[in-house]
């Protein structure tokens, strides 16, 4: 403990130097800006800014890049809540309840709880990284392919079970999402699936075109259809701060989100998106406001926002302790370190104490900065909703196009966005929820990969899924969830039949 404190003190010494503070602030500001601009994500920004970091000392460079990364997490929630425009996987979940809250005139409260929840979770996760990073890595490493598969199966089942409205439609959308996720090169044989000879499809359909088209742009079209909805949003900005009731409801969600996010962030390949989905599912099931889900429940914003920020911090753990990047942003961090002549890996803590502890301290400093930047801005963001639509929408569309194009510097992704916008509009007319589809799209291919890898390793023996304790537990919970859901559904179905 004493050693930890002295290490942290050393870290704060590094992080609080004028140069590092300046670059942490710069990173946080850039991150917030790109988070707010739909579609321009941290991956594109960090890769653009990578050359600038060459001239900086390694620690300063990483502190700035890390600032961009979690700044984007903060900023991403802003457009999700105000405009239903998720720029990243992890902020899709925030649109579900956050946008509804904004429509109810609670945009300020939603933005506030997102920022506060993120700050709290970020602080806890930072301490976790400092105190038990290496230990947690060992836990994460004990997850084998079979365990991942069972974990994701559990996720998909819960996604179906908790969907709004018709369960059949939800299952259909999940399956469609899985199918879309399977487009591209088969990992095992290198075979192309469902690509119709289009080379751009060989790496699969991008997430951002789907999310942006189905959520954001489809929503814009729907808004243009009903002028009355626009005026409602315009007149009802509402109080910017949380009511006592909202505080009471959001606090437990933030705590749960922090725990879920911290853990799922460590899993290689998991990261912020899995954390946000996980927390959302949990809140729908256990929170006091679960009956209000779909109508703008604050729990549905507080939990996932806390979770994705906690995960954003803890996803540094595999990088810092193993030298293994758990997502694309972390891969860029590895690149930045290698260019600086530093090999990330288990020895980094001893070899580069300034970098390691300085980065950890700067995470907390950066989170505090983000809170300070974001809370006063809430009023300004909410005013954004009062911008006349004839100015707001065209500019959103332009930013979306730039953002989507910048993913791969390829106009193909823009066409895909248009395609999914049309599809998203149709889904809305048919009352099909896009969220389960997106969950299927994200989890499906990962599930397939882990399933087939588990099968390859066990030489086709299915028993591996029940022999491994982690996997068996997950499958047990999944079965339990199915049974639990089946019972009231049978009753509800009967009730509806009688009433109808």
């Amino acid at each position: 403990m004493e050693l930890l404190l002295s290490n942290l003190a050393h870290g704060f010494g590094v992080a609080l130097s004028l140069q590092n503070l300046t670059f942490a602030l710069l990173g946080a500001l850039i991150g917030t800006a790109i988070g707010v601009l739909p579609g321009i994500g941290p991956v594109a920004t960090i890769s653009l800014l990578l050359p600038i970091t060459f001239g900086l000392p390694a620690t300063t460079a990483i502190i700035m890049l890390a600032g961009i990364f979690y700044g984007a997490q903060y900023g991403g929630s802003t457009t999700s809540i105000l405009l239903n425009l998720p720029g990243e996987v992890s902020s899709v979940v925030t649109t579900l309840e956050g946008y509804k809250m904004a429509r109810n005139g609670r945009a300020g409260a939603a933005l506030a709880i997102a920022a506060i929840g993120s700050f709290f979770a970020g602080s806890v996760a930072t301490i976790l990284v400092a105190a038990s990073g290496p230990l947690l890595t060992q836990v994460a490493l004990s997850f084998g392919p079979a365990d991942y598969f069972s974990l994701m199966l559990l996720g998909l089942i819960i996604a179906c079970v908790l969907a709004q409205g018709s369960v059949v439609k939800a299952i259909g959308m999940v399956v469609l999402g899985v199918a879309l996720g399977l487009v591209g090169t088969d990992v095992q044989t290198g075979q192309q699936r469902f690509t119709f000879g289009i080379p751009e499809l060989s790496d699969g359909i991008g997430f951002v075109p789907i999310a942006m088209g189905m959520f954001g742009i489809a929503e814009i079209i729907l808004n243009l259809e009903r002028p009355e909805a626009r005026s409602v949003l315009k007149s009802k900005v509402g109080s910017l701060w949380l009511t006592r009731q909202e505080w009471l409801r959001a606090t437990p969600s933030v705590l749960r989100g922090t725990v879920v996010g911290s853990f799922l962030g460590i899993l290689p390949g998991g990261g912020a998106s899995l954390a946000a989905f996980g927390s959302y599912m949990m809140e729908r099931k256990v929170s006091r406001g679960r009956h209000e889900f779909g109508k703008g429940a604050i729990e549905g914003v507080a939990g996932p926002e806390a979770a994705n920020n906690a995960a954003a911090q803890t996803s540094f753990i595999p990088l810092l302790t193993l030298g293994i990047p758990s997502n694309a942003v972390m891969a860029l961090m590895v690149g930045a370190l290698i260019i600086q002549g530093i090999q990330p890996g288990p020895r980094m803590v001893e070899a580069q104490p300034d970098l390691f502890w300085g980065l950890i301290a700067s995470m907390w400093v950066g989170n505090l900065m983000l809170l300070v930047i974001n809370l006063p801005l809430i009023g300004m963001w909410v005013k954004l909703l009062q911008v006349p639509y004839k100015f707001l929408y065209p500019s959103i569309l332009v930013f979306c196009c730039i953002g989507v194009y910048s993913l791969n510097n390829n106009v193909f992704d823009v066409y895909m966005t248009v395609l999914f916008t049309v599809f998203g509009y149709m889904c809305n007319k048919l009352r099909l929820e896009p969220a389960p589809m997106l969950i299927g799209f994200v989890l499906g291919p990962m599930m397939e990969e882990h399933l087939r890898r588990a099968m390859l390793l066990s030489r086709g023996d299915w028993m591996v899924f029940v022999q491994r304790p982690i996997s068996a537990t997950m499958l047990g919970i999944a079965a339990f969830a199915l049974v639990l859901m089946a019972l009231p559904n049978i009753r509800k179905g009967k009730d509806q039949a009688l009433a109808g």
Binding site: L50, E200, P268, L332, V334
Partner: protein
Amino acid sequence: MRLTRRAALAAPLSAIAAPLAAQGWPAQPIRLIVPFAPGGTTDLIARLIAAPLQERLGQPVVIENRPGAGATLGSQMAAQAAPDGHTLLLSNIASHAISPALYANLRYDALRDFTHIALLTLNPSVIVANPRAGIASMADLARAHRESPRGLDMASSGAGSSNHLLIVRLGQMLGREINHIPFRGAGPAMTAVIAGQVPLMSDSLPSAAAHIRQGSVRAVAMSSAERHPAFPEVATLREQGFDLVTNSWFGLSGPARLPAPVVERLARELREILSLGEIRARFAEFGGAPGALSPAEFTAFVAAELAAWAPLVRESGAQPD
């Protein structure tokens, strides 16, 4: 009459216009297309050479990541660019040796559609093992493979990669197929080896070097012709009785018919850049040896690589379409 006279005057002008353009080169920022995502080995190499190149040419060298389809999307783009020396490509073993055999509907010819300028670096593959797997040499590996009832598992960064093809060859030499476990990229595969889920992996040296140095995995054999200067203790496959030499490589290429002065200038600058102490040290850190081939030699090298990998790709069964 006037027209023909003008045409007659213009003809010799246009004939010298091309060399003139080359003299004025580079007149604008140079686009360096990297056919992989930012952060990977290819991207790193591009960024390492872009900085000194930009200094020497007096024009910014802008890196443009165009990932996708086994590096073929970015390469196709470079092939179709104007051959004025303002668009270059970080060519590599995937785009110019393996993918041409892998993808039947490729829209470029790895030789005809490019001007190959310089080989930047060569990296061997390395067989690594989890330290608890009890495999320290190829003899250990062969014995474990023979004695295990189910045979050995070996991870790679993906189906159709040069590392996967190495596993296929090894299996043929051992007389029993090695169970190939493909991953999405070297990072997740290395995680699985360190965690002990897969005992072995065939990896490129740049991504494996740090883990070997840190002792989180053990190097069993190197696929280069000679021992690697950074890892003199690791014996080559050939030394251990497996006559197999493979290297992944990275080079600089441009569209076909680049003006000769541009090619010469680039080749000269790159030769000097590659001999810089700092660049050599960086390349050595992640395990690559700097290349030293003239444009003609590099073109012959690409042709030889194409011929060498095609049969292996067929035998591996990897088939994208």
